[in-house]
Symmetry: C2
Subunit: 343 residues, 2 copies
């Protein structure tokens, strides 16, 4: 690679000092117009661009924000990044993405690498491994040093930093409520294992809805899926269990899509015999048969909010107390729960 042109090289070319060149390029009238124009023309010709590392070092500011997500091959997280990028770029920041791959160790090293001066702040969604291990010392260290940090989606209560979360309880509530509005009585819940916060929260919403409606909660209708095992086999049990449900609330799109597939294989009509709701994260819901009613999570908005919180923190235009933004989850009613909408 050709070495980039620097102030020093320009200075040597004109036999002036580095500071003269710097000032000339900044159009300082400390420098005679004649020399100024010559230097500018030369710099222009050789496409001089200030080395950003040097600037970052000098200004003690990188204008880069780091993002650590569990995985990127996931529509929801991609959408959040999109939102972060949009807001951050508008504010003159760049985005550096790292993946934890759901691993505690990788999350720790990522944080260590990124906080070595390369970013002004961090936006993170917790790795599953971290939630399982329940070890947050790497975040606590950051918080203790007042390092700008925003957690989103997968957060942890004990951490005193800015957060953006989706109203998962509300989402579960809305989903279950909708099913009851459609006259369903036996609503199965297909959720994750307990340590996955979002699953747990959506379950709370489900319980709240049933409770409010005066229905009792049948634990046999709650199925906890292990993502590492065979999904198909686990979800099949929903249909072979003691109490066959007339509706299913699944905490994500995949579970819901698989449930529909199995239901159809077993000759059940959707939504007549069984209604299904998922939580949207990708495009699957739109293209299933029938299209899947889903709780939509506004990932883009979430990303924007997270970026806004972080940049406010970085630029000290935020109060000291950590703030938590809640993004409401809305229901997108499609044909899997509601015959008339089956356009």
């Amino acid at each position: 690679m050709k070495p980039r042109i620097t102030l020093k090289k320009i200075a040597k070319e004109f036999d002036v000092s580095i500071s003269t060149v710097s000032k000339a390029l900044k159009n300082s009238n400390e420098i005679s117009e004649e020399l100024r124009e010559k230097i500018k023309a030369f710099a222009d010709y050789y496409q001089y661009k200030p080395n950003s590392l040097a600037l970052q070092l000098r200004n003690q500011k990188t204008s880069v924000i780091g993002v650590i997500i569990p995985e990127i091959v996931h529509h929801f997280f991609s959408t959040v990044i999109d939102g972060i990028e949009e807001y951050a770029n508008a504010k003159g920041y760049n985005v550096m993405v790292c993946l934890s791959n759901e691993s505690f160790e990788k999350e720790v090293t990522n944080i260590s690498v990124l906080t070595n001066g390369s970013v002004d702040g961090l936006i993170v969604s917790l790795a599953r491994g971290t939630q399982q291990k329940n070890d947050y010392h790497h975040f606590e260290a950051l918080i203790k040093d007042d390092f700008p940090l925003v957690l989103f989606d997968r957060v942890h209560d004990s951490l005193a930093c800015d957060k953006v979360i989706i109203d998962d309880v509300g989402g579960g509530f809305k989903g279950a409520n909708h099913l009851m509005d459609m006259g369903r009585q036996n609503i199965a819940l297909i959720t994750t294992q307990d340590f996955v916060t979002v699953g747990a929260l959506r379950k709370i919403g489900y319980r709240k809805a049933l409770h409010k409606a005066g229905m009792e909660i049948d634990e046999d209708l709650i199925y906890k899926i292990d993502d590492k095992q065979d999904l198909y086999g686990q979800i099949e049990k929903v249909f072979t269990g003691p109490k066959p449900p007339d509706a299913i609330l699944a905490v994500n799109e995949i579970y819901a899509a698989i449930a529909m597939k199995i239901a159809r294989e077993r000759g059940l009509r959707i939504p007549e015999d069984i209604a299904v709701i998922g939580f949207t994260s990708g495009l699957i819901s739109e293209f299933t048969t029938p299209p899947l009613t889903s709780v939509v999570q506004h990932g883009f908005l979430m990303g924007q909010q997270a970026a806004e919180l972080l940049i406010n923190r970085i630029e000290h235009i935020a109060p000291k107390e950590p703030k938590t933004e809640v993004i409401s989850a809305d229901l997108n009613v499609r044909a899997s729960t509601c015959i008339k909408t089956s356009k």
Copy 2:
């Protein structure tokens, strides 16, 4: 934010010089063991980590690779990034992602920003706007300066740099071939507008397959979709056109899924009355009814290859001549073309 601890502060603490501290932390035996241990303990306690900006500036190496993609909310690009991350991290590099949002201008500024010293090399997939404008001067400038650059998926022939492409011609060929193997005679092609390279290449494959089979190409069966218009309406014309097809080859998952939806609405049985093939980019294909036969694009592999080419280039373990890696596209046969596979 609390200021980070630096060599200078440690030096002041022990009333020694900065270089002494630096050497002590590097375990240099130039420094007495006693002092060395004291300094290390102190640094450890205060969690000293070398400022990476300073290191990057000094070493003239960032160990960061920049990635510019048109959009991230796209399963294929996410998968590629995943592959890049995997390989890059293993080699000690970090990844900085920027989005061009398909815009020429944003691509230009992104490149300008990233090549100001913040990254050692660039992996890029061309923005649609760039392909449309057919203006590649920003890349030509990089190539002229021997800046490490790898183009992937959406590339341009005139650019003399490393590339990783998918065998789109082969993919189109395999898809069309499979449909002919299933006995189909009137294969419609739903593709993009001509300036979108991948669409154009897949069309070539389609033509090659038909030609090889001695079938003539009916231009009325080729539909070019404008992504900015109503997809549904445009794809509907495939069915209302002069020659109703008995098979459809769509150049992406969405077109294929929409085509299937319309086909079913019109009472056509899949695959009996009409077979459909798409190009996988996300998870849609798995969950449509019936599951969609697709040409799979190995995005992860592509990312790994791109990262490998780039890092070899950065570390000068690559021959001068640019190299192009071709990733083969394979067919994943599902029920939308083949009754017996409908498990």
